[in-house]
Amino acid sequence: MSREVEGLNRRLLRARDAMDRAYAEPLNVRAVAGVAHLSEAHFIRSFRAVFGETPHHYLQRRRVERSMFLLRETERSVTDICFDVGFMSIGTFSRTFREILGETPSSYRAGNGPMLPPTCYQMAATRPVVNAAAQRSSSFGEAASAAAS
């Protein structure tokens, strides 16, 4: 039983890495599930069981983290950053960012400058933690039907 769990975890981790590499592209759940050798539904369920959130939630937090990086480290406009990191609309980006972090992208940019730790640590350590209320109520910009899983 334990060996199966290890195999599943490792495959899910590989799929999660694939999502991290392609974060700016639209999420292709079938392709990512394929990396883990799972059906879409099984992949979404297993991902949540192992990593504590759905693949979509994870991806949205990754995108917000990448937008935080660009806001801190570059002069690109909020609009450009929104599309750089894979959001499909300004409205969704602003709402998701605000729900997760509690402030607007512009306010975050004003209050934060470039960071010193190497990028890999930044990517891991600044990925935003969602507070409990937002975790329950926020759809993270996904349609209601997609959120049910």
Binding site: S2, E6, L13, D17, D20, V50
Partner: protein
């Protein structure tokens, strides 16, 4: 006073498979390989750097009970057990070499940063490995 880091350890699921990855693919060299009863003291190190060894540890008895070992194996395969950071004199060249040797789990292709060029890979078990070439990269010749 402390003069050097002597041994650091990384948790793996299988020492033989770890040896194949870290030596035959990544290019480290074997350090120690000694059997003591059922325990295999196995380390690798950076070629030409005899000072710091990286030991491979497999979760399991007698060091810990089976339940703890199962918990650790779950964490390792989720990528939650940390990893290693290496320096390289040629990250892009190493990237090509790793691909030729059959490595496919790249978390990040060689990318330029303000501090140098780095890339990320995972070992077969889920541990993260970062490889950094310090300094501003030279332009590749066309």
């Amino acid at each position: 006073m402390i003069t050097r880091l002597n041994v650091t350890s990384i948790m793996v699921l299988d020492k033989e498979e770890a040896l194949d990855f870290y030596v035959n693919k990544l290019g480290l060299e074997k350090g120690s390989d000694v059997k003591q009863g059922s325990y295999r003291w196995l380390t690798v190190r950076v070629p030409g750097d005899p000072g710091t060894e990286i030991s491979r540890e497999e979760p399991g008895p007698p060091v810990m009970d089976q339940e703890t070992a199962a918990q650790l194996r779950e964490l390792i395969t989720k990528g939650a057990m940390g990893g290693l950071v290496f320096l390289s004199d040629d990250v892009r060249g190493l990237y090509e070499t790793l691909q030729k040797r059959g490595v496919t789990d790249f978390t990040q292709e060689p990318t330029e940063r303000f501090y140098g060029t780095d890339m990320g890979i995972r070992d077969p078990f889920g541990n993260a490995i970062r490889i950094l070439q310090q300094g501003v990269a030279q332009e590749a010749k066309a």
